[in-house]
Structure formats: C-alpha cells, structure tokens
Symmetry: C2
Subunit: 417 residues, 2 copies
C-alpha cells in the first residue's frame, strides 16, 4: 500500500507535470511493447488518441520514438505506421569500481551496447585520490568512445561496494576500497570528463539487484533479493518493484547480521556475523587454513585466482574443499531463510563466487532454506545463480540512467529540425 | 527509487484519473494543514487557482470539505473563507480479532471517534465458524451504533494475527486463532451486517505499524518497524512511507528467524527461533518455570494476567523475574540489530507486553542493538514503546479506510442538494 497516495509524496499534478507523466507513460508503452500503432498506445494507456498523437509528436522531436512501416493494419484499410523506440542517439553509462577491477558498460536507449570493458586494478594499493584518478580515466576513455559513435550521454551512474549517500553521491564508507566520506560525484564532476552530464552514485549490490530485475535471470520479478559472495557479502533488495533503501540508504547490510552467537569473531569486531560463515574468506579458511585470509582488513586477491587454487587443491584429492563448500551452502541457506521470512521474496539471485560454485552450493542451501523458512513463503522462493557475472552492477547502473529518461523524457532536448 | 515510474504500475493518466488524483491532492492538503484558503491550497499543490476552486466545489458537494470563517486575510482586503476537512458524515471502521479479544474502533474522516470497544472472548475455545459469528455480531453492533449517529460507513477493515491474502481477504493461516484458509471477507459479507460497505482484511502487525505511522509515537516516520510481544512476536514494516508486503503479503515474519542455532526447539518445530527468546511464553518460562507454557500450541491466557502474576512473584522477592526480563531485553536487541541492518529504520516501536515492560526492557535492548548493528544506521535507530496499547491494530485498520477515501474522494457519493 502506498501511504503517500497518488502523485507520490503529494507531488503537484499541474499541467506540465501531467504532460511529463504522460510522455513517460507513452514512452514506456512503446519501449515495453513491440512496434505498435498510436491507437494501440491509446488503448493500452487509456489516453485519448489526440493526446497520444501530440505526445508521440514531442517524443519524435526528442528522437526518442520513431515510425517504421507502413504495415497493413489488415486485408483492408489504410496502412498504419508503427511506433518503435528510437533513442539511438541517447546513451547511458554505468560504471562499477570494485576492489580489483573497474567495469564500464554503456547502451543506447534502445539497448544497443556501446561499450563494455573491464580494467583490473588494485584499490587497496592506492590512496582514494589515485583510485578516483584511475576511475575518472576509465570513464573518460569510455565517454570519448561513446562520443565518437555520435551518441549523447544522458547520464553516468557509478556503483561502489559500500554505504552511499545517494542524495549527494558521497561514499560514506567502502571498507574494501579503504574509502570513508569520499564525495565521489563531486570529485568526478571536477575531473570534467563529461561536462553537463549528470553523475550519480549508488551501492553496487543495489544496482546489481536492479540489473537482475531489468535484464537478469529474475527479469520482472517484483520481489527479489540479490546476494553476492565476495570477500564480504553484498545484498540488494527489490520489494514491490522498488529498490529498498531504508532511512539512510543503508538497507540490506546482510554481511553482519548475527547468525551464530557461538561463532567466530568477524573483521568488524562482532561475533558470529553471516560474513564469517559465507564470505569468500570463510570459504578459503575452511578449505585451506594454511592459505587463509587473516582477520581484519582482508588481503585482496582476485577471487577467481582463489577459486582456481581451490579447484586444484580439490583435484589433488583434498576433501576439505567439498566439505567447506557444503558448509558454506548450509550457512547460506540459514541466512537466506531469515531474508525469506522478513522480505517474502519470490527469488534470491546469487552473484559473485556463489554463482561460480552454484551447482554445488545451491542444492545444499535450498534444502536448508526450505527447512528454516516459514513454509507458505518459502515454497515460493527459489535460489538461482546470476548469469550477469562481473557485469551486474555496471548494467544496473546504466539502467538507472535509462530509467531516469523513461521517467522524464523532457530531460532529452528537442533536436533542431 | 520507484522502478515502475510515475503513475505507479503504468496507471493511465486520462482526464478522469487526473481529476481523481487532483481531488485527492487537494483533500490531503486540506486534511493535512489547518484551515486554509483556496489560494494557499493552490500555492501548496502547484495547481492553478481556478482548478482548485472547481476541485473544492466537488469536494464540498461530496461533503468532504467545508468552509468556515469569514477570517480577515489581514488588516486590509476582503475577508477570505477558510477550508477545513468536513467528512463528519463519512465513517471508517477498524476491527481487530485476536486470541482473547475483539476490538472495534471507528472515526469519521475528521477524526472524531464514533466507536471504541473491546470485547473479551476465547478464539481457541471456539471453532472458526463460531468465532466469525461472534466477530460479525460485534461488527454488526458497531455498525448500528454508527448508523444511529447518521454517519455513512466508507469501509470496514479487519485485522487478523496471521498470514492474510489481502487481495481476496482470505486468512491463509492464523495459528493462534486456529484458522487456516478462512475466506473472512466473504464470510462477513454473507453475514450482511453492512451491505454495500467494502470489507478488507490485513495482518494485525501491519495495521499496527500503519497506526504508529499515522497517529502513534513515531508519527510520520517513513522508515519504522513495529514489533509486538505476545505469545508470538508480530512485526509490521514501513519502508519509504510504504507498508512492506513482499510477494505474498507475508513479509515481516520475524518470530521464526533463527537467532540461536544452539537454542531451544520452538512450537513451530524449528530450533532457536526468535520467539523462543522473546515471546511471552519464553519470558514466563524463564521467570516461572513451574507455571510455564508448554511447547506446541500455546496455552491461551490473558497476557496482562500473566504479567500481573509475575509482578507479584517479583514483589515476593523472586530474582528470576528481573533476570528473565533482562534476558528478554538482550535477545530483543539481538533480533532488532538484524532488523536494523536489513531495513535501516529510524525507529522500532514496541507493542504488546514489550510496551508494558518498556522501562526495564528497552535500556538493555538498546545497548545490545547499538553494539550489534552497523554503526552508521544504528546510531540513527531508537527503540521506543507504543502508547496505543490494544488499540493499535484497530486504529490502523480504520486508517486504511480513511486512506482509501483520501486517495479517491470519488468513492464518496455526491449529496443531494
């Protein structure tokens, strides 16, 4: 139930606002359906045909919608022109900065991929300033590539593994990057890599959840949770088709919920955090105590390198590897059950190393989940592996930009005739 | 971020819809502010003055708004008439059915209390059919009283301690009532106690959370959690000004999240559920093992009777009572920390027996919460006691009805001139 009523937080419904809302409604309709006639749009949206014709005219002037055809409406009757999403000239750039890589992903409004690159680097080996310089450099190169394609960027969103004040684009704290109170959006604006292009910042797991909702294995599932296994455990929650933020944008901090009062001490100083049971460090510690991460700030190594080592160890007949994976699966199910009881999601999508070990982790975790969660909700929630790999957060970030255009097409300027 | 964009799930913005939205906008403005002029409403809503005048006219015709005054706008100038909420002829009835009582609470749109009664009964001593007959009887009597006041009911909402399919008004399961798959809304409609009056059903903790948000100690806090201590533990979550429902309306099932893998077996058959640490049965078991509830379906006794016994026991110098309350407070904080990490609420409002023991439970729980939850969010979340007592759910239920009227004033018919 939306307690704020229509118009969200009592937003005024003056003529300009209504026009914007209707432009958005028509643009979403065209982008959501296949090629469709103006009458079909009118029928679907409930707007009258003349209004639709006028709105479509404006969307065409903004190069967001175009006509194809003529298609014949039927055996008889005038041929009708079909509307499709244009937006080939409008680009959306999503960037993820993580401990050991920077990923950049860009599409135009119609979904054509304009850029998709991943650059390795070591965040902990640099001070925040040098990391941001590197980030700005990667963004700058991508923006230039997009420019050469004759596409105008509608926005840039950056995904960060930490707590973000989305209103100001400030990273409050990103432990694995060693960042605290970094005004990232401002810093990138100062770098002047993309003048006049809006830059926003959000939590990486939130954006990955959005990507799963928009283009992943759980496409269109209005109640889903994205869980990613890294050195830490990240979580993004979509509830009722909305990203759950909480009072300060800090919702979904699953890594440090206590799952075992008799458990080990976590890097955060608390006892029995979920991270100490299912984080990558925990897996490695159980599988190979001799090469384990220390407590406290984790030693940063490429996760895939770690997993490759473990597979060799397993191939060499070390039984601790399978035992460790089973134990992680069990505890993954325990924590997932808490999430199912509290959020009643339909799907929990697993990313990071969870996805890479999915065939061995999921069966164990699903069994535990089904036993521990309230039946009525649990038998409707399944664990599944993400297929977006390292691209999830940057894809989600690009979708945030597209979402802004769909919500307010007037942000895209009218082309000169 | 609302991923469905303006207009919610792509709702059409045709003229009728826009008119409804604007009627709602003006009605909310008048109901939210003190007496105000048409110009003030225009300024606040962003609607132009002529539109406001026309909308106010319609709201007057529906007897939802009236004029008072004349007040003098200032030292000079024409006296202006002020608008206030009328709605004295429109009633909202909220009813709560619980294990040992039925509560009914009704107000008119302007907030005047029309009915407020609580009737004791024993749900477990009756089969569902007889309980529903009793419920219908209480509702019927209240509806008659409201009718005698010359007030027309806009709707009835019933609060139930269980999992509810709100779309059909079916109680999926309410363990403490012994109900399973009860089509409550239909059954009450058949009882014909209030022909043509819409009847809806929802979870009691959800409705109590709504009451706290609308008229309780956390009035207006857009991110709050309501926790109620009974034989079980109930929870309602308001996130971003919305009641969190999840995929099946089962979100917030906190009672059976596992907080202690080495804990006791719960009535549900699982191990270490939060309910086994903070439920009323757990408190009594710790304070007075000799009078403890058994495992399995709880023996139903009036909670206040239980607490009174415990106070006597304490007065008689039994140290187990204070020890038990401290232990409950500690575990309340442990579970609350999980909620804070996952939902990032600003306030957690405590109801049921938690509220009755608040001065002894909250200090212990708050300390534990601050230690266990992620600092950035935790130092912004406080535990506080509800002051709505047994009336929370029925008040929230009445607010659901009022909310529907505010969202769509056209549901109230135009009075004959």
């Amino acid at each position: 139930m939306d307690l704020t009523g229509p118009g969200g937080a009592g937003a005024p419904s003056d003529q300009a606002t209504i026009r914007r809302a209707n432009l958005s409604l028509v643009l979403r309709q065209v982008s959501g359906s296949g090629p469709c006639s103006r009458s079909a749009v009118a029928a679907e949206t409930g707007l009258n045909k003349n209004t639709v014709t006028s709105l479509v005219g404006e969307l065409q002037a903004r190069a967001l919608v175009k006509e194809i055809g003529p298609r014949h409406a039927g055996a008889v009757g005038r041929p009708s022109l079909a509307l499709v999403l244009d937006g080939a000239g409008v680009g959306a750039l999503g960037v993820e900065v993580n401990v050991d890589y920077i990923a950049a992903y860009a599409t135009d409004l119609a979904g054509r991929v304009l850029a998709d690159r991943r650059v390795g680097f070591d965040a902990l080996g640099r001070d925040p300033g040098r990391s941001i310089d590197k980030l700005a450099q990667v963004i700058g190169r991508t923006v230039a590539d997009i420019g050469r394609l004759g596409v105008a960027l509608a926005g840039i969103t950056v995904a960060v593994p930490g707590l973000v004040d989305t209103s100001t684009g400030t990273v409050v704290v990103a432990p694995n990057l060693g960042w605290r109170l970094v005004p990232l959006a401002d810093r990138l604006r100062c770098a002047a890599i993309a003048p006049d292009v809006p830059i926003t910042v959000d939590n990486d797991a939130n954006l990955a959840a959005l990507a799963e909702y928009r283009c992943g294995v759980a496409l269109g599932t209005a109640n889903l949770i994205y869980l990613t296994g890294e050195v830490g455990v990240g979580c993004g929650i979509i509830s009722g088709g909305r990203l759950l933020n909480g009072a300060d944008g800090f919702a979904g901090e699953v890594g440090h919920i206590r799952v075992d009062p008799a458990g080990e001490r976590c890097g955060c100083g608390r006892i029995g955090c979920w991270e100490t049971k299912v984080g990558l460090a925990a897996l490695v510690r159980m599988a190979a105590p001799d090469h384990a991460y220390g407590v406290g700030p984790p030693v940063v190594r490429d996760p895939e390198e770690r997993l490759a080592e473990m597979e060799q160890q397993r191939a060499a007949g070390d039984p601790r590897v399978d035992a460790a994976i089973t134990e992680v699966g069990r505890w993954l199910g325990v924590g997932a059950a808490t999430l199912v009881n509290l959020f009643n999601p339909r799907v929990i999508v697993l990313g990071g190393y969870f996805a890479q070990l999915a065939d061995r982790i999921i069966p164990v975790a699903q069994t535990e989940l089904d036993q521990l969660s309230m039946r009525d909700a649990a038998d409707r929630c399944r664990l599944t592996a993400s297929d977006l790999g390292f691209g999830a957060a940057s894809r989600g970030a690009a979708h945030v930009v597209i979402e802004r255009v769909l919500s307010d097409p007037t942000t895209i300027s009218i082309r000169n005739p």
